[in-house]
Symmetry: D2
Subunit: 341 residues, 4 copies
C-alpha cells in the first residue's frame, strides 16, 4: 500500500515538521509496523515524492509546484532530510510508494504535476492492463505525451487533465476541479464495465492547483470498503514531546491547518476523523472543508444500514486499510474537527 499526506495551512509549514521529524509521519510509518495491518507487503520502501507550492509568490519562480522524488527509501535520504529543514510551504503533497503496478523508477513516483496542477493516488485501478489502451486513445496528443512512467496512477492523472476545459490554464475554479475528478472516476468506471472487469478499483485521488484541494475516498463497489482516508484540522501542528511526538492543537475556533492523510499521523486519535467512503473532500482556497457524497451506482447512503457493513476484507487484503481507531465509537473532543457537508 501507498501512503500520502496533504497539508494546507494559512501559514507555511517547514517540511520537516510534516515529513522527517514526526515519529508518525508517512515516512516513519514506512518502517513502523505498529500501525500496519498488512505484514505481507513491502513497507513503502519503493519510492517517495513530495510536492509543494512556494510560500511567497515570486514572479520569476512562477506558480508551478516544486517536486522532489526518490526511488530510495525516504527515511535515510540525506537530500530530503536537509531540504525538509529549509523549505516552507502552505500546501504540500507527500507520498510514499509500495510498488504494486509500475516498476521502481522516478517516473513512477507521485505526486505528478502539469503546469500548476499536482496529483497523487493511493489505491489501484483493477485490470488496468485491460483498459490502458482505451484510456490512452481518449487522451489528446498533448496529454498522452506527458505520461512518462507505467503506473495506473499517472494515466488517471492524464485522464483527469483531459477532463479539464484547459489543463494549461493559469487558474482553475474549485468547481471545475471537482467536476474533472467526478468525470475521471465515472470514465474509469465505464472503461471497467465495458472491459468486463468486476474487481473493484480503489480510487483515493488528490488534485490541487495550489489554491483548492480535492481528495476522494472511493471504491467502485457497493459492498467493499474503500482505502482509508482521514482528516484533521486545527491551529497548530507541533511537537509536544521529544522524539517526534506531534499533535494538532486547536487554540480557538479558527482552523489554520487542514491535513488529509491515508492514516492518522499522530497518536492522538481524537485529532483525526475518518472521511466517509465514496465521498469527496474539498478544501476551498479560503480553507473551508466540505464533504460531498459521490452519488453513483456504488454509493450507499449513510442512512442505509449497508453503509456500515462494507466489507473491509478487500481493502485489507490489498493493504490499503489503516486500523480503525476503535470498535467503539470515538467520543469527539470538544474541539474535534468538523466537516461542513
Amino acid at each position: 500500500m501507498c501512503r500520502f499526506v496533504i497539508y494546507k495551512g494559512t501559514s507555511p509549514v517547514q517540511l520537516s515538521h510534516l515529513l522527517t521529524r514526526p515519529c508518525h509521519s508517512i515516512i516513519n510509518q514506512a518502517f513502523d509496523s505498529r500501525l500496519r495491518l498488512d505484514h505481507r507487503r513491502p513497507i513503502n520502501g519503493d519510492g517517495f515524492g513530495v510536492g509543494w507550492y512556494d510560500s511567497i509568490h515570486d514572479e520569476e519562480l512562477g506558480s508551478q509546484p516544486c517536486i522532489f522524488t526518490s526511488v530510495s527509501p525516504a527515511w535515510n535520504n540525506a537530500n530530503l532530510i536537509r531540504l525538509a529543514e529549509k523549505i516552507k510551504s502552505p500546501l504540500v503533497f507527500g507520498h510514499v510508494r509500495a510498488t504494486t503496478t509500475g516498476s521502481l523508477s522516478l517516473d513512477n513516483c507521485h505526486p505528478f504535476t502539469y503546469g500548476k496542477l499536482m496529483f497523487m493516488h493511493n489505491g489501484g485501478i483493477a485490470g488496468f492492463h485491460l483498459i490502458k489502451r482505451r484510456l490512452q486513445a481518449d487522451l489528446s496528443d498533448d496529454v498522452f505525451n506527458i505520461v512518462q512512467g507505467n503506473t495506473d496512477s499517472e494515466c488517471a492523472f492524464a485522464l483527469l487533465l483531459s477532463k479539464l476545459p484547459d489543463p494549461k490554464a493559469k487558474s482553475f475554479t474549485t468547481r471545475s476541479l471537482q467536476q474533472a475528478m467526478l468525470d475521471t472516476i465515472a470514465t474509469l468506471n465505464l472503461y471497467a464495465e465495458q472491459a468486463g472487469i468486476t474487481e473493484p478499483s480503489l480510487m483515493n485521488f488528490c488534485v490541487t492547483d495550489g489554491e483548492s484541494v480535492i481528495a476522494t475516498r472511493y471504491i467502485s463497489s457497493r459492498h467493499d470498503e474503500a482505502a482509508s482516508l482521514w482528516f484533521s484540522s486545527g491551529t497548530t501542528f507541533s511537537e509536544y514531546a521529544q522524539g517526534g511526538h506531534y499533535r494538532m492543537a486547536k487554540a480557538d475556533k479558527r482552523e489554520n491547518i487542514i491535513m488529509i492523510a491515508s492514516e492518522p499521523l499522530t497518536f492522538e486519535k481524537a485529532d483525526w476523523m475518518e472521511i466517509r467512503t465514496n465521498n469527496m473532500v474539498v478544501i476551498t482556497p479560503k480553507m473551508n472543508l466540505l464533504q460531498i457524497p459521490i452519488v453513483d451506482k456504488f454509493y450507499v447512503s449513510p442512512s442505509d444500514p449497508a453503509a456500515l457493513n462494507r466489507d473491509t476484507d478487500f481493502a485489507a487484503a490489498k493493504g490499503f486499510l489503516s486500523p480503525r481507531i476503535a470498535l467503539a465509537p470515538v467520543q469527539p473532543r470538544e474541539n474535534a474537527p468538523q466537516l461542513s457537508i
Copy 2:
C-alpha cells in the same frame, strides 16, 4: 548518441575484456572525445546495460539472457567492474545511452529482453510521439503490457515481438528473426508515412535469440547517411599493450570472434569494416557473417553513384556518426574481415 557493441564467439569472453578494460570500449569512449564528432550532446552518461547468455547451458538456470543495467555512468559502476571480471559469455550485447527520448530510468536502459530474445537500438524514430498510439494499437495485449519504459526503442522491440509467429517460442530460425526485423522496419515506415512524418528515422536495431544475431544499419531516407555501424572478426581479441590497448588478431582462416559496434573499438582501424547503409548483418549460429541489402524505397544500389553521396549532415547533427577512418579508401589487411553477401 548511444553506443553499442555485440560480441559473438565460439569461446566465451570475460566481460571485462569487452567492457571495462579496453581504453576504447563503449564505456570508455563514453568520456573520451577524441573519437567524437558531436560535442554538443551529453556523453553517454545516461545509463548503461549489458546482456549476456550463459557460457555453459544449465537446465536450472534456463536459456534466457541475464541483464545488468544502471542509470549511473558505467565507467565508475563498482558492481559492473566487479561482475565483468567474473562473468564469461559467448554472446554479449552492451549499450551506453544518451537520453534523447525517454527519461533517465532503468526501464529505459537497453538491452530489452523477452524470453530468450534480447534487443537494442542506436538511433531514433522520427516523430515518435505522433505514431506511438498507432503502434501500441497494433500490439497484442501480452506484448503491449511488457513495455515498461517510455522510449521509442522499447516500443520498436514490442513491435518486432508482434511480428514473430510466437515470441515465447523455445527456438527461432535465423530466417524468422530476419523477417521480423524487416517487417518491423517496414511497419515503422508505414506509420511514419501515414502520419506525414518526413524526417528520416535512424533504425540501427539488433536482436538475438542467443544463437543468431541480426543487426541493421538503416535510415528511412535515400539521401541521408545512416548511423554508423562497423564489424570486426578474428581469432582472438586481446590486450597487446598496457593501458587497455586491445586488438583483434587473426591467426588463421578461422573466425572465432565476430564483433559489431557503433564505432571501431580499437585504434587499429584496419581491423574494422564499415557495414553498408540500409543493409542487414546476420551472424548465423555457425558463425557465418552475411550482409543482406534491405531493398525498399530508401535503398540505393552500391552501383548507383548516389550511394556514395548520402549526406552525413543529418546523422552527424543527431550525433550518430562515427568518424570515417579516412577519406582515402582503407587498404585492407591481408587478413581483413570479409563479409559473405
Copy 3:
C-alpha cells in the same frame, strides 16, 4: 539491526534459492515483521551486499570472490533479482544492513573483501568513535588505506587483516583464520578497556577465504546475551510449497549444506540450532562443523547457571535478537543438525 546468511555447500546453490525466492530469506525478512522483535528500527532497507566464490575455478577469473552491493533496498533491486537467477556458488555471504553507524553508501555495504578474503559483521562496537584512531594507528599503511567507508565493521575487518601473517597470501589455514579472529576480538576488548568504554560490543563476525568459514557469536559482557546466531545443515535446501516456502531436508547422514544465519531462514524451526553465546563456529574445507568456546573474561561455562541467565534486554534493545524458537526446549528431529565440539 543487520541480518546475514552464510551458505557453504558441496554443490553450488543458485543465489535466488538463498536470497530472492524464499519468503523467509534475509531480504524478504527485511520487510516482514512477523519475525521481528524490534519495531522501532528501520527494517534493513539501508543497503545490501552479497559475495560469492566461483563454482568452477577458472584461472583467468582468479580466486577472489565477486561482490554485488546496493544502497537501495534489496527486495526490488532488478539487477539482484536477475543476477540471482543466473549465478551459482558453493560459498555465499549475504548481508542486509540497517544503518547504525556509517552513512548510506556503497562503501559501507558488507561483505568487505581483500584478495581471497571476505568478511561481514552483525552487531556494533561500543564507543567506536573513541577507539577508531587508536585502531587505525595499529594498522599497516597497506591495510589502513583499504578502508573506504566509515563503519566500525570495515575497521574491524582491517584489524583482522593486520592480525594475519600475510593478508595477501594465496591460501590460509583454518587455524590462522581462527587465530586472527580471536586476536581481533581480544584487541577490540583491549581498546575498549583502555578507553574506559563499559557498554558491551556485539561482535558477530564472519570471515572466509573461500575454503574455511569462521563465524562468531560474541558479546563483551558476562551478563548480556549476544546478537542471535543460528545454523542449519542438511542434504538439500529447496522449496516444498509454492510461495517461497523452503526447508532443509536431510536425506541421509551426509551434510552437503551448512547455513549460518542471524535468524532462522525457514519456518521449520527444528531445522535450526542456536549457536552458543561467546562461541566460534568453524566450517572446515571438508565441511566439518566445529563449535569452539571463546574463553576470556566474558566467557561463562554452559555448566554455570549464569550461562542461562544472560540478559536479553541489551541485544533486544539494539534490535539484534531473533525470537527464540520456543520457551519449551525444542525436541530435536531425528536428523537434527549436530555440532562437533
Copy 4:
C-alpha cells in the same frame, strides 16, 4: 578534474541561472569538451553538489546552509533541475566531481558543511595516503568524527575546522577564516615535507560562513602552475541570447555580483580575470574583493620573471588547468572587474 563555482550577490540568484540553464555552467561544461584540455579523464560525471544560504533569514530555519548532492551526473538530475528553478540564494557553492581519490559516494561530494561553514576543493593533496593518519591524529575528537567519506578534501576541511578558535561559533570574522585557511595550507605542507613527499599538492580551497568567502589558488611548488581559478563581477548575470548564453553585465560602478570559478563560465572571456597563483581571494561581507599573496617558500613575486614561467604541464597532466584565454594579454573592457590588492 573537478570544477566549482562560487556566487555571492547583494541580491539572491535563482540557482537555475547559475547551474542548469547556462550552456557554460559547470554542469554543462561537464559534457562539453570544447573548453577541455584533458581528454583522457572522465568528465565530471562522478557526483555533484550545491550548497546555498537562505535569501531571507528565518529563525526557525536557522543560519546553516542547505546542501543537495548526487552521485549521478548533474546534467540529467531531475530533482536538481526542478529545485534550481525554485530556490534563490545570495551565496552559492557548486561543485562537480571527477573521482581522483575517494570512491563514488554521497559522503565524498562537495561542498562539505559544519554548522554555518561550507567548504569545497578543486585539486589534490599529493601522497595523501601517507599523511592521512598524521592529519587525523591532529584533529580533536569532535572534528575527527565528522569525517564521513574518504577524500583528501574532506580531511582538509576537518583540518581547517581544527584551526578555528571555535568551529561551532555563531559568527566568524573574515580574518579568522583567512588565518585558518593559511594555517591549513601551512600544516599540509609541513606534513608533506615530513613524509618526504615531493610531488606538489593542488590546493584550490574555498570556505565561507555565509558572510565572507575565502578562496585560494595555490600549489606547493615554485615551478609549477596551480589549478586554474577565475573571477568575474558585475551588476547582472543574465541570458543575452537563447540557448543558455549568459553574460555578466556591468551597468555602473556598483558590483552587485561576484563569481569565482575554476573556469570562465561565459564565452565573453573579457568578463573573466585570472586569479594569480598562490594568492588568496577574499570576498568580504560588504562585497569587497581582495587578492592577497600567500607568501611562503612556494611564493614567487609577480616582479620575478619566474612568476611568468610556471610550468603548466603538471596541472594540465592532472587535468586541472582551464585554457588560458589567449597568449596575448587580454585587453580589459572598460568595466572589467578589478581586484583590490
